[in-house]
Symmetry: C2
Subunit: 214 residues, 2 copies
């Protein structure tokens, strides 16, 4: 059964999934890069970004699970890029260069239609304008029985979480305070929504936990 | 220099300092007891509650720091008891029996005046009706140069935090989701208030961190 999963989504000690004032230079907001310091040194992260080596252990295990059995991705528009409102032209093709680290169909939520973009390495960006359920249906179909990974950002995860559509969610709490930004759980009662914590793993770099529905 | 400190304040993975629906039977709200599971087995907790034995290590070290160099306590009224509104009589004397684990002057914030209560073992409850600054001034005077410990609950800590009056704050994230209740940090920008994280210690039972002002 194909699942909708969130994986390796990092939040601060005070619960923010990105810092304030996101810009082209600071896609994760002020201080937001520090959220991923547990993940960057891992073998999985290094390999995905074309590098050799990297650390192994629980941090890397969670990283590796992110990419296992994934058939398609869903991204919020802010995670795809800093452009807001109607697309001024076709020039923005994501943060990741010609060969993005997805290598699968990626469904980008937006209010503004745009033709699909085929990138190198198997990534195709599809733009979905009619809501999160449609994006999920399209991604499931593209995934051909594999899981769909919901990449973020926080606002997009919150939408899917409130709708009860996420099956499994791995969150990493990083040892950083952000003070403001996009909060992941504020105002969302995961208990009432039927989620329970099934895993809890601490490393020197992060506190990992997994929520599952039902 | 006497500090105002918060110590061993436990929050859930989703940031709540107590669960929903606090009652006489459930003073920490539904599920809230689980917040303290890291602390209860420690030698410090056991000793404070008149028991022998208990675990040592980082959890216990944080527990021991809570009680070091403390001259007075401040508590919110909900932490003192479940009574709301005017005191119906003098019968409620806290959750802790005749010999509360404070052994020092305790200043209870309330909107309703009441005469001090002298308990066994050195604890006296004083009721302060004119605000958090007054309670702090009185507690500092009673502490005679030692630190003042702000015991909670979350709403009271939020008031002092917003006013920038807390000098040092140790928080423990417990491996539990609560879904709703009293959130500790929601809407409070600790970075703008001048706090920075100075310590970060993980144990199998909790993620500890310390914020300091300046």
């Amino acid at each position: 059964m194909s699942k909708l999963r969130v994986s390796c989504f990092s939040i601060s000690l005070d619960g923010f999934g990105a810092g304030p004032e996101q810009t082209l230079e600071n896609p994760l907001g002020i201080g937001g890069e520090a959220l991923h310091e547990w993940f960057v040194p891992t073998r999985t992260f290094q390999k995905v970004h074309g590098q050799e080596g990297g650390t192994t252990g629980p941090d890397d295990d969670f990283g590796a699970r992110q990419f296992a059995n994934i058939g398609a991705w869903i991204l919020g528009r802010n995670m795809f890029g800093p452009v807001r409102g109607p697309w001024p032209d076709e020039s923005w093709k994501g943060w990741w260069g010609d060969n993005p680290p997805y290598h699968r169909p990626v469904f980008v939520l937006t209010h503004h239609a745009r033709a699909p973009i085929t990138m190198e390495g198997g990534t195709t960006f599809h733009f979905v304008t009619d809501g999160i359920e449609t994006a999920l249906a399209q991604a499931r179909q593209a995934a051909e029985g594999k899981d769909v990974l919901l990449g973020g950002g926080a606002a997009t995860i919150r939408q899917y979480l409130r709708a009860g559509l996420i099956d499994e969610m791995h969150v990493a709490i990083s040892p950083v305070m952000l003070g403001s930004g996009e909060h992941l759980f504020a105002g969302i009662d995961t208990i009432k929504l039927g989620y329970r914590r099934t895993e809890y793993v601490m490393t020197p770099n992060a506190t990992h936990f997994v929520l599952r529905k039902g």
